[in-house]
Point group: C3
Chain length 342, copies 3
């Protein structure tokens, strides 16, 4: 990060908000309330941490109007209706200020087909491969060691981190961010049993990804069997997620790390899927469904709401007794029924 | 995909089956019954979807003899004993017809050791690395950015998609397909505790993979500690699967995405392991075992059959009550026992 | 592996231990007791396998003093206080003896910034990319297709297997081993909701990894949001593990394959986390906690010990009945309570 500091007034000019005091304060870092020093800017997003306002050493705190007075009593404050959103925009502004500018152009070691189409101001990194028919939008950035296969499309301003595979015929829209190790467009898992073993069902669909989508490291999104696998605009996927063939994920749905969605399942818009949750195939989840971490979803969900399922953990000897009893649970219910009849 | 259409007669000539009507019909796409248009061929594999025969607009439907009459009543039909298998073969024929032919030869940017052995008509993609002692079988295809380490072997006609690592001394047989991001032959997780922390157990075995094996994106198969990790002929592994050292997977077993098998476990032939299922180490599962999705297998299984274990999910407030009670399940059983004794 | 054999006397000279008999024995392989032939060395680490001492055909067995007599009665033996640790060191000695020496130098196809700093005797493999500001320690080995981004640091003697991404500003200490496909320093999953969809929180921290750390294939360790994600000395991570932003893992903790740790969780020293276990965010686990495989940890753990949680698996029809009853468990408890009150 840059070693130079920023005046709060400069920050306000860029991001808005009401500055209370602190016109002389300069900021070197962004930090949580409990780790901040005098040259840090911090934020209070969750009222649960309100008490930290009294103890933090932060040079400036971003707060909601309800906390403006308390914050100003201790030092500089920026008042804004949604401090967490303000913080998010601050990180973006900070990153733009401190990170090296993208280098535009095609690295001489990249292997770009003369039949590929490159937009204006694209960056193609070292040793990247861009095949015939691929279309790279304006200002898109293709990292080192990426492979953009034939007829694949990368939208305007989308960035592929180093070592991403975008399979033939697949496309991602504008302003996306795809992290290292992601594989888009491997074959879906389609097999027909036969007497001689499984016969492969060639996967003839593609993957279609909308705008403003982020995809975490080593996540896999398989191509569809006949139609496409679809990821709508604004979807955010964390690391090591498995999206099987013909899954459809609705707008602005977010999934945490290690989640898995089996084939042909349809997830609505504005859902959240917790880490390590998994959803079996051929289900439908409506908009606004929230699945807790480590839950296995085995039926369609027709009502918005929060659904949970991780088996409770315990100290081991206690778990052993309870788990053993669980195997007799149905019998236990029958015994209770018998007692009730007496 | 190709924009040209195919006559049903041409399709029958290639794949067999009995054509009822439709000698004039031309096909542009393969589609499910409920998404098909007049230029589509579709199939009825699961009798559950029988009603769709009456509503589909497909130009031709592949059916079993029992549905021949119903299908022919509405338009062209192909009658065959196993429509799903026919569909699988159709996708293969379709893919061969519409995908660009493999380009044979070694890309000038690939780095192939003069001490590697290349078979006839191999393809070595851009920026692939093939080390000394490696043997690449006839018609094998090594994708862009693959690394085939020293003394590794790739069988005839096997294809490594872009960015696969095949570790030193490991081998895969003929007609295999390995998707992007797969790592074959990383070290197994072998550690001996000591007062100074863990001491690494060097993994001296290899990975041995049979013929007709498919391995999904970002799946990992570790090398054995002393002997080899073994994947037998016809095994199909989906994406993001973990196969630990010295696992042995029997012939024609299939595992869905995110499954994990811990060290030295032995899985029989013709098993299916559901998505996100995991099997702890040092177990034996006999042939013909079917593990449901998200099941944790903690004991050996000596009888073929279906085994399940995902904890049921529920609406969150209901789950909270049941999960809390679960922690007292053993006590609850004691209470029932006490009541019974009264 | 080398085809030449080793005299037991040579092995003792290198690794210590007391040799009983066998001064003429030569060893060709290391093997488990039940798979060993006369030219193999084997070991008895777990007294549970004691009976195999009577049946093994191994040319030499490594044993603890308690088994010296029994082992010597059947052939050559090496006596040492900790046979498993001796075995670990033997594998290291064996690997050093039989594996090709690292080739020192920068492969001509590697792309190394003139502004990177390379230590003495480093190896930079084919097509690796090392960006400006990166520092590669003495004797470090950067495998083929690795990307070491700007200002990243690799400690002395650390080895990156082919195809590792070490993100900008991230560092790993000395004597580490990072397997293929690992992504260190992808963005943590930070999002602020807004009316226009999620707004990205740029991840401004790095990843800081200590000495003697091993990281398995395709594992992901995200960079911190503000401060760093921290992996302390001696930590061992298996394959396909997810470490989210700002996680802190204490010294000498080991995690098996497919484990996942959500954001800001702090795990103590000398813990073990079983395969496919997952730990939700913002928790604290003290030193010496052992989590069984496939356990979901949903609360902080303040006491060392063993904690477990996988839902028991069963034959499917039995599981169906028990799982259905589980959804009424709270009600069942109420019914028992009612019976008790009578």
């Amino acid at each position: 990060m840059s070693s130079t500091t920023v005046a709060l007034t400069e920050l306000i000019a860029a991001l808005g908000g009401d500055l209370l005091g602190g016109s002389e304060v300069r900021i070197a870092r962004i930090a949580p309330l409990d780790e901040a020093d005098g040259d840090c800017i911090s934020f209070l997003a969750n009222p649960r941490y309100q008490a930290q306002l009294g103890t933090t050493r932060a040079g400036c705190v971003i707060v909601a109007p309800a906390f403006a007075e308390a914050a100003a009593a201790r030092g500089a404050a920026i008042v804004t209706p949604d401090p967490y959103l303000y913080f998010a925009r601050l990180t973006q502004w900070w990153a733009a200020r401190t990170r090296p500018a993208a280098s535009v152009g095609v690295h001489p070691s990249a292997i770009v087909s003369p039949e590929a189409t490159l937009g204006r101001d694209v960056e193609i990194g070292p040793l990247a491969v861009v095949e015939a028919g691929a279309v790279i939008g304006d200002r898109a950035r293709i990292g080192a060691h990426c492979v953009v296969e034939r007829d694949a499309q990368v939208g305007e301003g989308t960035r592929l981190a180093p070592r991403v595979v975008l399979g033939y015929g697949c496309r991602i829209g504008a302003r996306g961010l795809v992290h290292s190790g992601v594989v888009i467009g491997a074959d879906g898992f389609g097999l027909a049993p036969s007497k001689q073993g499984y016969v492969k069902i060639e996967q003839l669909g593609n993957v279609s990804i909308g705008d403003d989508v982020e995809i975490g490291a080593n996540t896999c999104i398989d191509r569809g069997a006949l139609a496409d696998t679809v990821i709508e605009d604004g979807v955010k996927l964390d690391n090591l997620i498995q999206i099987a063939h013909n899954v459809h994920i609705g707008k602005n749905t977010a999934m945490a790390g290690c989640a898995a969605v089996a084939g042909s399942t349809r997830i609505g818009a504005n859902c959240t899927i917790g880490g390590a949750a998994n959803i079996i195939g051929h289900l439908t989840l409506v908009d606004g469904v929230h699945i807790s971490a480590a839950t296995t979803v085995t039926r369609s969900i027709a009502e918005p709401g929060v659904y949970s399922g991780p088996h409770p953990f315990e100290e081991n000897s206690s778990w052993q007794k309870n788990a053993a009893t669980l195997r007799q649970l149905h019998t236990l219910r029958e015994r209770v029924r018998a007692l009730e009849k007496k």
